[in-house]
Amino acid sequence: MIQQSKSKESFMEKKKVNLPQKDAGRRLADRLEKLGQQKPPKALIEKLNQNDREKVAAQRNSSEDMDI
């Protein structure tokens, strides 16, 4: 067992092995969750909604024209 442990240490030292850190997965999940909670770019939201408003306004105008 001691010999096994020594060979493990020497292998890791030689290879500079990355070891897992405590709670790293849960911390990563929190960070990715926060990253996804951001609002999309304002300009894009405005364009998405603006086009709708323009279309709705245009539809309203044409129906009014037909009524006349």
């Binding site: 067992m1 096994q4 442990s5 060979s7 493990k8 292998f11 890791m12 030689k14 290879k15 092995v17 990355n18 070891l19 897992p20 850190q21 405590k22 709670d23 790293a24 997965g25 849960r26 911390r27 990563l28 999940a29 960070r31 990715l32 969750e33 990253l35 996804g36 909670q37 951001q38 609002k39 999309p40 770019p41 300009a43 894009l44 939201i45 364009k47 998405l48 909604n49 086009n51 709708d52 408003r53 279309k55 709705v56």
Partner: protein, 243 residues
């Protein structure tokens, strides 16, 4: 070779048999560590805790490395699309981009009910990119990416590798390494595909695990059990843990 299921079985195994070289992890396990909506999130993180406690290094091949960052990218784009859909103040079903975003939101809602973590596929990703670029200009697609991926993805990737403790195996065909009992051969991987009916990425994992000194394979895919069980001559100290 032994096949283990359940955290207690893995815990006992790690207590009894020292791991000198490390474990090989598949993409499913690594992804499950990072997303709370994945059904295996808690299980994967409990396993990670065990690996921390026993100082077991986690290895992955370059294909899994690429698959993992691709999954994270597609998940972040999915989340961005849902945010964009929910920012729409009116519902115009005649607008293609609106319908595409709604489709992504609906698919995500259905996946949540099934305890699955939905990510846009390549087809939907291309569709969103094209529709945003066509309707509003490519600059808006880039702004969208800047918000949800871009530099943040690069930063996260650095910490993912360091904090999760990932080590990537990059071995050329026939090259020797301290981690391998025998050199890895492309031809043997291709033979495994044919014999076992495995897709390339899975055959690469199977071949790598077979030839490496790594004692443990952690996977979400129970196909590996069948793949290894019958004819591949495995060393006795090899263990497959299936989440």
């Amino acid at each position: 070779m032994q096949v283990l299921r359940g955290l207690d079985a893995l815990s006992r195994s790690l207590d009894n048999d020292a791991i000198n070289f490390g474990c090989l992890a598949d993409t499913g396990f690594l992804y499950a560590l990072a997303y709370k909506d994945d059904r295996l999130f808690e299980t994967a993180n409990d396993i990670h805790d065990l690996l921390v406690a026993h100082e077991v290094p986690i290895y992955s091949n370059v294909i899994s490395r690429m698959e993992l960052i691709d999954l994270i990218f597609r998940k972040q784009v999915t989340i961005g699309c849902i945010q964009l859909f929910e920012s729409a103040t009116s519902h115009s079903f005649d607008k293609p981009i609106y319908n595409t975003l709604k489709d992504i939101r609906d698919k995500n809602t259905a996946a949540v009910k099934k305890n699955e973590s939905f990510k846009v596929d390549e087809g939907r990703l291309k569709k969103v990119r094209k529709q945003l670029a066509d309707d509003y200009g490519i600059a808006d697609w880039k702004d969208f990416c800047a918000k949800f991926v871009d530099a943040k993805l690069a930063n996260e990737w650095t910490s993912i590798e360091q904090d999760l403790g990932l080590n990537f195996i990059e071995v050329m065909d026939g090259q020797e390494s301290d981690l391998f009992n025998q050199p890895l051969r492309w031809s043997e991987m291709v033979a495994l595909m044919g014999q076992k009916g495995l897709r390339g990425p899975d055959a690469m994992i199977a071949n790598l695990f077979d030839k490496s000194k790594l004692e443990l394979l952690i996977t979400c895919d129970s196909d590996f059990e069948n793949c290894f069980a019958d004819q591949i001559p495995f060393e006795m100290n090899k263990t497959i843990y299936i989440l």
